[in-house]
Each structure stands twice: as structure tokens, then as C-alpha cells.
């Protein structure tokens, strides 16, 4: 069997993997709200930062 068949099927398999990933993402509602998660991710890091700040302060004392 020629190597071209393997290459083509490989490329299609990879493409299908990305395609399914996209479909699953749509199905799970990833594209329904693009605004809130973008803000939410900032909160988590901020509250953690606060905790570490407090921790550092108490350490310094």
C-alpha cells in the first residue's frame, strides 16, 4: 500500500478529531456566552492573589 493512503487518512483523522472537539464544545454551550467566563477567570486569580498577599504579610510579621 502506498504511503499516500496512510498520510491522507492520518490527516483526515486529525481533522476529524478537531471537528469533533468543535462539535462537543458547541454542544456543551461553550459558544453560548463568551462574555461572562472571560470575566470570571479574572476573579479567581484575584482572590487567590489576595490570599497569598495576606499570607506574605503575616509571614513578614
Amino acid at each position: 500500500m502506498s504511503v499516500i493512503y496512510i498520510l491522507i487518512s492520518l490527516s483526515i483523522v486529525i481533522a476529524v478529531v478537531f471537528f469533533t472537539a468543535f462539535i462537543i464544545a458547541v454542544k456543551n454551550g461553550q459558544f453560548d456566552d463568551s462574555h461572562t467566563p472571560a470575566i470570571r477567570i479574572l476573579f479567581d486569580s484575584e482572590s487567590k492573589q489576595k490570599q497569598t498577599n495576606k499570607y506574605n504579610k503575616s509571614k513578614n510579621k
Binding site: I8, I12, A15, I23, G29, D32, D33, I39, R40
Partner: protein, 800 residues
Amino acid sequence: MLKFAHLLRGIMGKSCFHCGIEFENESFVVDQKDFCCIGCKTVYEILSEHELHSYYDIEKNPGISPLQFVGKFDYLDNKDISDQLLEFDENGIQIVNLFIPNIHCSSCIWVLEQANKLNLHIKDAQVTFPKKTVRLVYNSSSLSLKELVVLLASIGYPPKINLENKNTEKQVTDRSLLYKIGVAGFSFGNVMLLSFPEYFEVSEFWLDQYKPVFRWLMFAFSLPVVFYAASDYFISAYKSLKKGILNIDLPIALGVFVLFTRSTYEIIAHTGQGFFDSLTGLLFFLLVGRYFQQKTYAFLSFERSYKSYFPIGVTVIKDGMEENIQVKDVKKGDRILIRNEEIIPVDSILMKGNAEIDYSFVTGESNPIHKALGDKIYAGGKQKDQPIEIQAIRSVSQSYLTQLWSKDSMKNQEKSQDFALTNKISKYFTLVILIVAFSTLGFWLWWDPGYAAYVFSAVLIIACPCALALAEPFTLGNLLRIYGKRGFYLKNGQVINRMAEISSIIFDKTGTITANDQSKIHYHGMELNTHEQALLKSTLRGSNHPLSRQLYNMLRSQNILTMDDFKETAGKGIEATFEKDTIKVGSASFLNHKAATKVENTSVHISTNNNYKGKFVLQNMYREGVFELFKNLSKHYEIAILSGDNAQEEENLTKRSPSGTKMFFNQKPEDKYNYIKDHQKEGSKMLMIGDGLNDAGALKESHVGIAVSENVNVFSPACDAILDASKLKDLDKYLRLSKMGVHIIHLSFVISFLYNVIGLSFAVTGNLSPVVAAILMPLSSISIVAFTTLSTYYVSRKLT
């Protein structure tokens, strides 16, 4: 006339730490922070008690002052109502999705998602910002829905619950377009890859050997595109054919069909590689275009009826017991309790209490009307004072206001959503293409019959109006976005087309060209001395009448005196005594003063020690730039003002408006509706700009109905567009922009016709190779998209 400027409010002082409102009155201080009212202070205390200080770090003054809500949500105890709101209710866990119009910044998201810190029984909270909703999961055995809602209201986020979000149930979000784009994009990419080697048309042993594999793979990839992604176009084309209309989807569907059959034939007959690349690419661009113009404002609703304005439940008094029932169950003869700020749900008679009804939403009359016991109160008014008891004399659906909606005219015709311009063009386009195709067929049958079918299909392929179909959705979609950023929210792109056709503009007065809350106060009469000013301010302090509150807030702060005697006669005025001085504040008749004015103005008369001093006249404040706007608009449009108010402002308005402005006063909702209807019958295209339920009929009937709103989230009647009140002055620019938009679409049509002429010259002469198609078709689509996008931005930048 003596302007009493020095009496009026001076430079403003502190600003509230919670809500950012600037105020002058004595402040509430906690932790060395100023608060404007006890509500804001309480919210701060609740948040700091639960260590949610970060709320104030994310944005400056993020809060909203909480409104009075005692008893407002009692109806949630009614199981029928709460069951309809809950998404899930089992094993002591309930899930509810609440619409909270107050969500406006990132601090809001943060504090609402921390709701479990406020109450342990809340398991999870998730905000969807574009829709302004929060989804709450909570333990129903220890926390009732009512308690949850009250908790949210107490931190300044009262949910808006009405019959409307009850009816819409769980909406399944339509994601099929995204799936289709995914399928088309996936196939497009792969087909391009596979068709690439054959573009060069070299005969080489290696290439020749694998040609069939490549071709059949492309065929396989195109199948889902034709049968799934393109299905909408086939369905729409079929429907339009059935109706005997030639819409734009028809040539698209025809093109897709011919592309697919001819390409399939070519690979079966081994004559070529087909046009699968063009086919998949074309559909991918078309679907992306569709997605692009699908921009909607999820948090706004353009289809509201009176139902969304009315509360979902009311408190009924039966045998001395309060009971919460659904508003639709209110029967004739029921005794209903209406609290401050609550809406009267049904035509009724006042039985008990002091009624100050604000009808601004129904009639356009801006000041509350006093009602005596036994007076008839129409549905739609808002109580502005202590709780009252009323007896229903009709059922909800038979009330004066709600009957407006049951009229046939309010239900019928949904204004067309199709792309009007494109469809107009496509009628001729389709005809021209068919004529060209058949005459080419005839020519080739005579010249070289073997080639005829090939050339015929080539013409149909290249004529596929992808550029034509893209021009309108991209231009309108882009303009929607531009308008949205500038506080003008349109229901859909077609409103822009209709806006460009407008010939005359009708304004409502109260709430539209005047601001609802702001009034200008002039003082006419003898000047008051400092002592009298202090007396006046102290007297007003004790009154809850809306006019007193308004006047109190306008007056400069004085030493507050404690009055020895204070007597308020509801709806008439106040009489107060301090040491030897008596002061009377109220209507002219209350002061026994013969009012000389012909037209009844909204005024507060003052007398001290039975000497008439003068009166404060409250005048509607016109929105900033309104008369400038009138001037600009009058150059191109006919302008008229339809007011539900009395004619007291006529003189002032005539003076300030450009000549030729028509004015009509004391207009009932039906009058406005008929005015629009009659004039549109005569052929003029009307733009109605209004704000209240009294304009609803006119807004619906007009060619374009724009609702002006100070808070776009709260409420607006059914309309085509919602305009932020502060942007009213830019209306002329927005109208000009809509005209420019239509010009851009026309220009794009010209460009796409040029592409078609080039393409057809290849096709008619029998020279359309797959490479030419693969270059020409995406090129025309992309250049149209680029042209419309860039030109709309350029035009909007220049105009606003």
C-alpha cells in the same frame, strides 16, 4: 418673574461609596465612608459582614441603591407561581434562573457568584452576563424562593419576575447554525487541500495515479455540506417557489445544486475534478455571513406586551386575610392590596388609603394624580404612597389598557424580516441569469452541441449570487453592532432599511423629549427670606407627596426646624406652625388663592401667616439637544409632536421648535394609533418615537417604532428599536447612517455584478476551469465582505 436660583440646589457634595450618586443631604457614615441612603449602607454592611469587600475593588461605585421591596415578592409563596419559575425541583434542591436587569458590571458578576457566602443554603450561582440572568441552585428545605429573591433584592439586585419570563419557559438555544458552520468549514479546508494538486494541470504519473482517490474523497466531504449545511437554502428556495416569489435563496440553491451535480458527473466521467472547492467554500462564507448578522441583544426584548409590565401576582384580601394569587386569577369584586411602587393590575375602585397614582406610563401625564375614596382607578398606574386597598371592577384582560392589546391591529402582521433590498434585486437577477444561461445554451447547441451542457452549467455556477447574498447581511449586521455601541438597539437589520425610507417623524412628549424625573422649578412671586426658606424646607421634609419630595430635594439645605404643629391634607397641601409663624404649602384652592392661570400648571403655592407669597412652577425639562435635533431633522423630514399631556407647554414648544412642526395635545393612545394609521394610508412612512404603554399602538403601527428608555433593561413597549434616552440627540445622525448603509448595499451590488460579468465572460465562452472558479468565487465574496465592513466603519466614524 423672579428666578429663585439661589434657593435651588448648589454645587453637589459627597458621592455615595456604594452607588456613586452625588448627594447633599446628611449622609450615613460607616467605616468613614459616605452613603446616600440607608439602603446603600445596608448593602455595604451585608457585604462587609460576609467579607465580600472585593466587590468595591473591582469597579468603582458598582452598587445600585436598593428599592423598597417589603412585601413586593410575597406572591412567590404561592406554589402555582413558584412552580412555574423553577427549572428543577426535587429532593430538596431547587434551581431557578432569574432575570436581573441591574447586572451591569464585573462587580455584579462577582458578588452574585459569591451568593453562597451570603447564605449557606445557596449551593451555586452562575451569571450569564449578556442575558443578565443568574442561575441559582439552592437547598429548598431551608431557603424558600421568596427568601432567596428577597436576599438578592436586599443587596440591590431585585430580579424582574413577570408573566413574560414565565411563559418563555426553558428556551432551547438554537445552535444548528454553529454546527453547520463547523461542518462547512471542516469540509472546505479538507477539499481545498485535496483539490490543490490538480490546479496546476500537469500530467505527471504520480498525480494521474491518485486522481480518482482525491476526487472521490472531495465528493465524500461535499456530501454533508450539500445535504446538511445547505439545507436551509433549499428549504427557503422551495418555499419561495411555492409562493411564486423569486428570493435570493433561489439562485443560491440552484447554484449549489448545479455545482454538485456537474462536479459529480465530472468525476464519474473522468472529465475533470469538479468544483467541490468552490461549492464548500461558498457555503462556508454564506453561513458565516448568516452568523454575523445574527447579532441580537439577548437582554432586551422587543416583543413586550402589557403582561411583562404587570406583576405576576397580587395580594388579595379575603375575609380579613391576605392571600397571594396570580394576577390572571383576579376576579371582579376582589379586594386587592397595592403597596408603594406597585402597579394597579386591573380597573378598580379605591376603597381605602391615600392614592397618588402615577399614570406616566399610560397617559404620558408626568405628575401623580390624587384619587379620593370611591374614585375609579385604571389599570397601569403606579401607586406612589402608602399602601391602598382597591376593589376590582373588571377582570385583568378586560381592563381599559389591556383591551388595547386585544385589538386585532395589535396582533396582526409581523413586519417582514427578509432582506428586502436583496430580494428586490434578486427577482431581476434570477431572470437575467436564466435568460443568459438559456441563450448561451441555444448558441452552443447550434455551434457545438457537445459542449452545450458544460457551458450551460458553467453559467449557472458562476452566476451564483454569493457576493450579492453577502452584501446585505454584512452591511446590516455591522451597522447593528455600530448602533448598539452607541446606545441604539435595533431588533434586526431590516429596521435599518425601513429607517432609510422614513418621510416623517412623530415624537411623543412626556418621557420622550422631556425627561421623566427631572423638572425645572421656577419660582414666581415675592422673595422668601431666610427664615421662610427654612420654614418651607422643614415643612416639606415631613411630607411624602411626590411633589414635596421633588421640591425638597431642589431646595438648598437649611437649618431643619422642628415644627410645633404639622397637618397634611391628602392631595391638597400642608399646614404647619413653628412658634408664631404658620406656613401653608399646597394647591391654589388649599390656600384660597384665586389661580389666575388659564392652563393648569403643575405648581406648589406658598403662603406664610395667611399672606400669599408665590408659587413654585414645575416645568418639564427637555432632554439635552432636543431642539437642535428638531432643527436638523426638519430639513429632511416632517415633524409632529403627539402628547398625552395637556396643552400647557404648547406655547413654549412652538417657540422653540422649527416652524412647521405640528403639535397635538390630549392625545389618547387610540388617537396616536389612528394618526399614524391614517397618515400611512396616505403613503407617508412614519417613524414613531415614544416611551410608554400609551405609545404602544402607535409604535407597532408605524413603519419604524423607536422606544426611548432611560434604562434600556427595565421596560419598553413592543417596538422595532430601543434608544438610550441620552442618545436621542443623535437621532438625525443615526437616520443618516441608515441611508448611508443602504447606499453601501447598492454599491456592493454593483461590485458583485462586475464580478458576475467577468465570471460570465469566462463561462459563456466555455473557458471556466475549476481554478478560475476557485479564485473568482471566494475573491468576490471576500472583497464584498471587506468592502461592506470597512465602508460601514468609515461612514459611521465620519458621522458620529
